[in-house]
Assembly symmetry: C2
Homo-oligomer: 78 residues x 2
DNA sequence: GTGGCAGAGGTCTTTTTAGACCTCACTATT
DNA sequence: AATAGTGAGGTCTAAAAAGACCTCTGCCAC
């Protein structure tokens, strides 16, 4: 029951996450190892297929060595 | 299967959310109305009983009129 | 052409959130 | 004392996340 608008938010978030990861030169598997999240799941998150929870967000931020707030620092609307 | 450490993170997040809400002089029910989230759920979130998702986070930030990043701007560890 | 690594994506089970509604105890006001 | 508002917390169903594992294709080096 994810609306089109929500889908857009998740996709923007995913794109932002991907950019942060690539900025650090990490592959999906490397980040997966760094934060104990399955690489297939990270892949889905980056594509906006998953509505991640706060704890996952915190784990990702640890793996990426950024603040959790930074992970949410993306434009939700245009 | 939420670990003790995770529980602590959720509780810190909840306390932060509560502070943001009270700073704005909003009751649970007022915030509930502002962001279309049931007040009983917000209560549970503030107590760290729920591992909120990104979309809920965004809705809360809209209701509180703060950035989503600001919601995550709390100390995860001491 | 075999092997290794990449991202994407499928499958499956268990656990949890989402969401709506309702109750209770407490407090303040009338 | 009755009423209205508060936070806390219970119940229930349906949808989704978590988590683990596996496959496929493409790329690049050996």
């Amino acid at each position: 029951m994810i609306s089109k608008k929500d889908k857009a938010i998740l996709q923007k978030f995913g794109a932002h996450l991907k950019q942060l990861r690539e900025n650090r030169g990490l592959s999906l598997r490397e980040l997966s190892y760094a934060c104990n999240i399955d690489n297939s799941k990270i892949s889905k998150i980056e594509q906006g297929m998953i509505n991640v929870t706060v704890l996952t967000l915190v784990e990702l931020s640890n793996g990426l060595e950024v603040s959790a707030a930074e992970l949410l620092n993306f434009r939700k609307s245009l």
